[in-house]
């Protein structure tokens, strides 16, 4: 059986820009609530 030399997958650093994305729970506002989300008087 012929031996095949192992080749490690090539790694590439990708330089990218992306739209801001707030992780759930990391912000000051409740999820999905950009406005007032409590009791009305």
């Amino acid at each position: 059986m012929e031996k095949k030399e192992y080749e490690a997958p090539k790694m590439e650093i990708v330089d990218f820009e992306a739209q801001a994305c707030l992780l759930a729970g990391s912000g000051e506002e409740p999820e999905g609530c950009d406005d007032y989300c409590d009791e009305l008087g």
Partner: protein, 317 residues
């Protein structure tokens, strides 16, 4: 069980009970009870509950009306119990004619809704000197500058002319507001005798405005503000709703243009006007204020080292 734990649990339970008991009600059993309230003949007082409960509602049937034994003047005392103290600005709608007993409170009757020269939306409301009319939603202004007016949870009125509240009543609670610029009734002040919550899939979300009852994020109690998902309103209060019958509603883009905040101009009896003290814009909502790491921890400043962070406009590599 540990005695200290038991004691602490007992104190906590008692504290909870005390906080839910309305101190002003007489100690004896109510003469009659109904959804949302009770009447006590001993002090000729009707108590109505405007509280945070998903099932809260007011229902007044003929049996309730007949239970209330009014005096010769036809008047009775009314106490509206709120779970949150009155902010400077709030709303009210009641199934009877009423007059506040306290000088802390003034009632204003909205009549027009338009934009000013700068394009800022504005509600105009006239002073309703001392009187509220059954089923008519009003703005309620509390002079919270005065110390004795800062912690009002039970609002006392002199009342008369109790009306029925049943499944047909809600239709009577919508107040159309005229827009002099468009010539149409673009908005409505809608009262409710039921608890309402605007969940994220609610059809009216994005078209509803109201007075904040609490300080929350950038919105202060008493501010007039746009309602977001999860907001709610207890019974016997009112909110402003866009009715979608003007050029505003002709395109999706126009809906986006609905105002984030709305000023309120109060017109006094002598014709003088005053902009509400609370009419400051509540601030542009910036979803990301500063920088966060991937675990969601907020950083003091923009990170200098390499790595991935969540920031204002991009992912910093």
């Amino acid at each position: 069980m540990n005695g200290k734990v038991l004691t602490a649990a007992t104190v906590a339970a008692l504290s909870c009970l005390v906080s839910t008991v309305w101190a002003e009600r007489p100690s004896e059993d109510a003469t009659c009870e109904f959804p949302g309230g009770a009447y006590y003949k001993s002090n000729n007082t009707l108590y109505l509950e405007s509280v945070n409960d998903e099932n809260a509602r007011i229902e007044i049937l003929d049996t309730t009306k007949s239970c209330i034994d009014v005096n010769s003047s036809g008047e009775f005392n009314l106490v509206v119990e709120r779970s949150t103290k009155l902010a400077t600005n709030s709303t009210i709608v009641l199934p009877m004619n009423y007059s506040p007993k306290s000088s802390c409170i003034e009632l204003y009757d909205p009549y027009a809704f338009t934009t000013n020269d700068e394009g800022v939306w504005n509600v105009f409301a006239s002073n309703a000197p001392g009187n509220g009319v059954a089923h008519r939603a009003l703005l309620m202004i509390t002079d919270t500058q005065r110390k004795e007016c800062q912690d009002i949870k039970e609002i006392e009125f002199t009342a008369s002319g109790l009306q029925l509240v049943n499944e047909h009543t809600q239709a009577q609670l919508e107040r159309e507001l005229h827009n002099p610029k468009s010539g149409a009734n673009d908005w409505a002040l809608e009262g409710s005798y039921n608890f309402i919550r605007w969940d994220k899939d609610h059809a009216d979300l994005g078209k509803v405005y109201g007075y904040a009852a609490k300080d929350k994020n950038k919105v202060q109690a008493g501010h007039f503000t746009k309602v977001g998902a999860g907001a709610y309103i207890p019974p016997m209060r009112a909110y402003l709703k866009y009715r979608g019958q003007t050029p505003l509603a002709k395109s999706v883009e126009s809906i986006v243009e609905l105002p984030e905040t709305i000023d309120v101009t109060l017109v006094e009896e002598d014709g003088t006007t005053r902009l509400a003290r609370w009419n400051t814009v509540t601030g542009e909502m910036v979803k990301v204020n500063g920088w966060y790491d991937l675990k969601g921890r907020k950083l003091n400043s923009k990170p200098q080292n390499k790595g991935m962070f969540i920031g204002n406009t991009n992912i910093q590599k």
